[in-house]
Symmetry: C2
Subunit: 759 residues, 2 copies
């Protein structure tokens, strides 16, 4: 193989580096109007009246819409959201009216001119309050503010308790965090003269989006075309439909003009989805040697005012509670409660950062109780290839043990763990944590497949039309590599087309770390069929045994001998005899199953594993935690593109470090206190520590070239490893994120490690 595993720059890199790439915010179409949304000033109130008369007087305004002007179809996972809010607002994001105008400033001015009269309702800001008897009902008819609960169990937790020599219990509190995509939320809606709708949309799931949007705006899905422009970051944030999207459609319909909405950065902080905040109460047990006996988890998720994908993170979290290491008995109960806070969406890791933080923190506690090194306890409980977990997850390849050993080795674990280093008032420690995540998609819909069309033109140029979506993760590049590898051509001979639902075949979308695996397998099917056609044709033409032919360097080869140039053979097929174009198509459906009502079943065809060992330095006087190094080992099945993989790992680790140390969208009484990059502390480049990475190649039998998905993996276990390292350094266990200096210092003071300087 010449391309698989190589370091290949991203195909979209040069365009992005040179500024050539045009994002949706760069796109102006003739006649386009700008949409701006008037949002709520209150977190929970009855809307008494909305007066748009002054807004209509603003020059350049074409339409001002309120809930009265549209058919306001409920949508979302809980069918509890509407594009515009008519009677009541439930959170600070709420969309009350929308304006389309010739300029963005005119639309904004008109929005400000809208008079809204409210009557405040009693607000609810915590899950605890929301679930109290008699709490204000945030959605009429949703009794007790409890739209969803999740219950899962395998084995018998009582038996597990009985089998335990040690049990630890604790509560973990996870914060709001936001995606901070460099490109803010945006959409362009345009009807053509026959009433068909083209949505230039940042969605990660164009085919599902098309179906769902059709229902919301009262159209037939086949009349909607979704075009995906280059996307300035997604990370899960574009998995759902949000109110601004149907609002753009309604504005376009009302004005008969294309309407574009682009969020301001402030709006992006306040009104885009967040990582799901929650409280996790976990009990874990093990026997005298450290073998895990049970886990019993209770979770309370703050659903905010409406339901988006954040409410479904328990699907993923329960896998970690049930199946990260061997757990004979496990139980999982989750309540998702409405509050008047912002609502959460999907975010790289999808609940798994939260679950892993709890689980892996308690593994260290158990190791301490047993008196073994945390690495040893983990190795003792690690699964192997071929195992099936209590939840029915089947590990057809499993490199967890290798990940543990490799992360330990890279970090100098055994030496550093033996004696936490002290340097004056600065303490050093190492901690580790592992992760388990789906590695080949997740069959949460009836299909988790992807279609592909491969064609080779007369000049040997290969086009892959894939159903999959590139949101910056590099799938275009990796898919091109796979096709180029199979067909024995250079990378620059392959073009990937993936951004238009009118052109590309179906795919479920980009989520669940599925693209390399599912779209990769799909592309391989089509590429291999093209290869077979070429080899058969060459064998016939030159009367050679097909089995001895191969494709390499743009040629059909027999051993080291060139039989024909690939492009020449394609032309021969095209221009002689019956005439044939090299076009093949495929559809790949992974061998996963939808879980049953008890959440049992092998939801992904393969799983990703990883271990991070983190070394930290804690400044006792200030509570400042500095990460000195992250040593990350990941079971990736097979390295497809070493450069792209490193990018994924590094990006994920940095995102995990932000979650661990600095990032929090601060919500107080439903309002966002830090809606700017100045106050929302993203890690900056100088703050990023060295990241050591080792890829564990387990050569998954079902993966494309043996690969499995790794898109979400590297973000998942950072926080637990950091917290374990801080504990190693200071002896203090932190169960709430992020580990800001303030929080750490207070923790150190409370634990008596340092004196309160103010005392």
């Amino acid at each position: 193989m010449t391309l698989i595993g190589a370091r290949i720059p991203k195909l979209d890199g040069p365009g992005k580096a040179t500024g050539e790439t045009r994002y949706l915010s760069d796109l102006e179409v003739p006649g386009m109007l700008h949409g701006v949304i008037r949002r709520s000033d209150r977190v929970h109130a009855r809307i008494v009246s909305v007066d748009v008369s002054k807004a209509l007087e603003v020059s350049g305004v074409h339409a001002v819409l309120t809930a009265r002007d549209i058919v306001n179809v409920p949508f979302g996972h809980g069918k509890d959201n509407t594009p515009l809010k008519g009677d009541r607002v439930r959170c600070i994001r709420d969309e009350i009216a929308a304006v389309a105008a010739e300029t963005e400033s005119a639309a904004a001015e008109a929005c400000r001119a809208i008079r809204v009269e409210y009557e405040d309702l009693p607000p609810v800001f915590t899950v605890e309050d929301a679930l109290k008897p008699g709490a204000p009902e945030i959605h009429a008819g949703r009794a007790g503010n409890l739209p969803f609960t999740y219950d899962y169990a395998h084995g018998d937790v009582a038996q597990g308790e009985a089998d335990s020599a040690h049990v630890v219990e604790g509560e973990f509190v996870l914060q709001f965090m936001t995606h901070c995509c460099m490109g803010t939320s945006a959409i362009l809606a345009a009807f053509d003269s026959e009433g068909r709708l083209t949505l230039t949309s940042l969605t990660q799931v164009p085919f599902l989006y098309r179906r769902d949007m059709a229902a919301i705006v009262g159209m037939s899905p086949e009349d909607i075309r979704v075009i995906q422009p280059p996307i300035g970051g997604a990370f899960g944030s574009k998995l759902d439909i949000y109110p601004f999207e149907p609002i753009a459609v309604h504005l376009a319909r009302a004005t008969r003009r294309p309407v574009r909405i682009v969020f301001s950065r402030h709006e992006e902080f306040v009104s885009s989805p967040t990582r799901q905040p929650m409280r996790v109460r976990l009990r874990s047990g093990c026997d005298g040697k450290g073998r895990l006996t049970f886990r019993d988890a209770q979770l309370w998720l703050d659903n905010g005012g409406y339901t988006s994908w954040g409410a479904t993170t328990p699907f993923v979290m329960m896998q970690t509670f049930s199946s990260l290491y061997r757990v004979p008995h496990a139980r999982f109960h989750t309540k998702v409660a409405y509050t008047n806070n912002p609502y959460s969406g999907s975010f790289r890791g999808y609940g798994n950062l939260q679950a892993t933080f709890a689980v892996e923190s308690q593994l260290d506690l158990l190791a301490e109780k047993v008196g073994v090194d945390p690495l040893e306890l983990r190795l003792m409980n690690s699964q192997e290839t071929g195992e099936k977990t209590g939840q029915g997850l089947e590990f057809v390849s499993c490199g967890l043990r290798d990940c543990l050993e490799s992360a330990a080795e890279m970090s100098g674990w055994r030496a550093k763990r033996a004696s936490p280093a002290l340097k004056g008032n600065v303490r050093r420690g190492v901690g580790m944590a592992s992760m388990l995540h789906v590695g080949g998609g997740a069959k949460i819909y009836r299909s988790d497949g992807c279609g592909s069309v491969v064609s080779i033109d007369d000049f040997g140029k290969v086009t892959l039309v894939t159903g999959s979506t590139d949101i910056g993760q590099g799938s275009e590049t990796v898919l091109a590599q796979m096709v180029a590898e199979v067909l024995g051509v250079a990378m620059d001979r392959v073009k990937v087309i993936n951004s238009d639902t009118d052109v590309k075949p179906w795919d479920v979308g980009v989520h669940a770390s599925r693209t390399s695996y599912v779209a990769g397998n799909s592309a391989l099917l089509a590429a291999n069929e093209a290869k077979a056609k070429l080899l058969t044709a060459a064998a016939d033409l030159y009367e050679l045994p097909k089995g001895e032919l191969s494709l390499s360097g743009g040629f059909i080869m027999r051993g080291a001998e060139k039989v024909d140039a690939l492009d020449k053979l394609v032309r021969t097929l095209h221009f002689t005899g019956k005439g044939e174009l090299l076009v093949t198509h495929s559809y790949f459906e992974p061998a996963s199953v939808k879980q049953d009502a008890g959440f049992f079943g092998n939801v992904s065809p393969t799983y990703a594993f990883g271990t991070h060992a983190v070394e930290v330095e804690v400044e006792l006087d200030t509570g400042q935690v500095r990460v000195l190094a992250v040593s990350a080992a990941h079971d990736v099945g097979k390295v497809l593109n070493a450069m792209s993989l490193e990018g994924q790992i590094e990006g994920g680790v940095v995102m995990g470090l932000g979650y661990s140390l600095t990032e929090e969208l601060k919500i107080r009484e439903g309002k966002v206190l830090n809606p700017s990059f100045r106050d929302y502390h993203l890690l900056t480049a100088p703050e990023v520590p060295p990241i050591h990475f080792k890829a564990i190649e387990t050569e998954d039998p079902s993966g494309p070239f043996g690969a499995k998905g790794v898109g979400e993996a590297p973000a998942i276990c950072v926080a637990a490893a950091v917290a374990n390292a801080v504990h190693h350094a200071t002896g203090v266990r932190f169960t709430e994120l992020p580990l800001t200096p303030e929080r750490v210092l207070n923790g150190l003071i409370a634990a008596g490690v340092v004196r309160d300087p103010l005392a």
Copy 2:
């Protein structure tokens, strides 16, 4: 059948009617510069010097290119043209320099500021002069100004002469005519940051264009993507590459910016291709009863300064000389000579208007000699289905006899022919003429095929990706109809994608009346495969005999009973079992052959026939010819879309009437005298007579639903029919076009029909 033969409006109609359609001249891309070309002031001169210094001083200018600045690769059918002219200009269009600037006006100003010093060379303006010994050599090394000759013969003309009772001989002179596309010539060339080139181009032949352009601009064809925007008319004019196109590429390369060139209307008249002007000397004979014995044709074509497709019109013309009616012996000799006139390209009919004018004028002369009605003479010589002509053309379906009878009947031929009507100084007459043209493409390249991909999405929406190109002729609509008919869905369920070489499969392009036939057959192959998949799946699923199932109204039917909805079945296939997407692909190569060196061979799988009977009124005092009615009967194989067909017929007839009566691009000493719509007389709507049309359905066995191509046919025999009608009305034979009042009055005076009012 529910859709085939119906009156279905064009899919692109609403967009064009509402102004929604964006042509290339409406397209602005970020950073785009405007290109303007400095052309020659002389028709034949040495370029002594080109001084661009003042041009470079114009504000907003980014680049000024002359031949010295680029690698000036020869191109075109004669490889005698270059993008920019360095040493010599040979016609008034010649491109000496090009400017790219921020605005079109800055670029134009800079062009004007370029100083060119010439040294005049002796010019040549007629073919006769060009072929004289010692004539100035227009291209060095092209001896005698004779780049091409064409010789064809079948039978033995001497024997034909010997068999003849009557022989007529004459000379016909055909004028320059220009396409008058509503959208002028234009191109947008843009390199991306990796050096790949996207050409937004009006080309009719995107795949050939890509290959040829690559050679001209020194690139690899697979690095060029051709996107075809909506095209404001083509009619053959966009079949070749013209200098402005590589010039745009060179400007884009020099400036590293996208560069657009859009011709002004003046430039379009002066510098776009024309219909091939020529002189035709023809001898035709028949026996005593009127049966044709031979044709002997000599043609002289004015090639102008360079060679474009006009020089290849003899390929088509010889078919009419050899095979329009039964001709036992035929000979054809053509000389194509360089002059310092503008050069000609491809134009709907491709030489056949010229050839048919001569052939059909002489048929009337022969009828007169024999003393039979021209209709009878034509019927006597008409071919039948199953005949093979002397040139090897095989008429698998032939409705010529029906066309003759129908045109006669519609026009009231027999009554009107008997006695030309007189009304004071106004005389009326009827004339007829027939035509033969390829009806399923022409295999002039190694392949004349087309690829298609048909897919059906989860909502039953059908996408046809076709290699073919719609230049306004309505192929999108007709192809959608065919696919909708096969799949039993409504028209609005089918989307056609056809404008991007990165997406669509190969096709030779739109010319030779091939799209309905070739792309239609290709689409049918893919649609029928999709249908078979659906019926097989339904038969399996519902345990029904497949042979009893059909597709209709969006359902799988068993007789009148609905078995399943089509979209539901597609979803079932997608979401259950092994998972399958409905995608099929096809490649159709017509059963035609490339002709041999002697131009013998069945170049098209089927042929189109037609007859026009025209009634005219000639005002003797003024020479004004008014067409009262055109009765057109065309063998179309099968009507696919009655409305679209009528549009083609009417448009073609009007184009033919313009050629007959008013249109001439007047060239004097190489210069264009009438480069504006005011002076170039296009027929206007009030001048268009009633057009009666009858479609003859011969149900071609190889055609899609029995159809054959008809795109060019209706323009072809108008002029001959008009001239024959004028002869019938006045007794005067006109052999030169157009029949302007001046020409007709002079002819009437010369023939003594009227007195010279100035005498």
